[in-house]
Subunit: 177 residues, 2 copies
């Protein structure tokens, strides 16, 4: 507990659609005063959807912040009051068109805790059944399948460069879930 940074003051900069921004003035345990820029995020889910052929479903979509089309595990943010499990079931169907017979919670993780509180809950989805895709109106998505033996090559060559996706695929490759 001796690491804690005490908040001296907090200033709201922006309240947005997905994120808020605030700047905190903090006092460190050694007495130093500093500022911390904090991006508040509602949190979300990431799903590793595994087919009965041991392929993983990935979604391809344009990401404005990086001006690139990325290959990612299906994911999405929590709606107000929504439980991670419900969110994972909803996002998997919306983004891939597949419903999971089994949806197992693995663990939560922070995406970039130096400046944001975003936490993602990782799920493993199996026994997939196609029910039809249903993306949000401002999402344009294409579904891909990746085989186990293609994963490492796609990470090393930079074809897959989303952190949560690399993490989820490396976890899947261990096969001890």
């Amino acid at each position: 507990m001796d690491f804690i940074e005490e908040t001296i003051s907090s200033r709201d900069i922006y309240q947005g659609k997905i994120i808020n921004l605030r700047v905190d003035e903090v006092k460190l345990p050694n007495g130093t005063v500093s500022t911390r820029e904090v991006v508040e995020h509602p949190g979300g889910v990431t799903i590793i959807p595994v087919t009965n052929k041991s392929e993983v479903l990935l979604v391809e979509q344009f990401r404005k912040p990086v001006e690139e089309t990325l290959l990612e595990l299906p994911a999405g943010k929590l709606e107000p009051g929504e439980e991670p499990l419900s969110s994972a079931r909803r996002e998997l169907i919306e983004e891939t068109g597949f419903q999971a017979g089994k949806m197992e919670y693995l663990f939560p993780f922070y995406t970039s805790p130096g400046f944001t509180d975003e936490v993602l809950h990782l799920f493993l989805a199996r026994e997939l059944k196609e029910v039809g895709i249903n993306p949000d109106e401002d999402e344009i998505i294409r579904v891909h399948r990746i085989k186990k033996d293609e994963i490492i090559k796609n990470i090393k060559t930079g074809r897959i460069k989303d952190g949560k996706t690399i993490m989820g695929l490396l976890y899947f490759l261990r096969g001890d879930y």
Copy 2:
């Protein structure tokens, strides 16, 4: 290329110490107009420092956005004009007090491309030599060592919950770098 979101207008909200915030109005390929909140980040490095006993060095520090003390791989942001390799060498010494005889570049990844352009460059550091710790004045850090066979347990129990750290440790466990 048919996924690209054209920027119609862009509004600067905040220019900060580490991050900037802007809001873009975009036009999707299907004609829908939407907004995208974008957190601009200078990017950074993450290092997997492996000792000659095959332990990995982790750093413990308080992270204001999540109000928690986290165990993470050494990491830091790029200084203006700094190359990732130089940054990795500098951050490893600053945060752990160890210098790497070998510093190998693995791959870059995005931490949360839905709302930020932050890219981290992942390095593997070996042949470590202790030279003394030298943290930034507003960083309070404690160095830990984790053994190979403790990694998965620490991820599953939530003792390690930083995404880049879980990703780097899972990559290290593969042992095929």
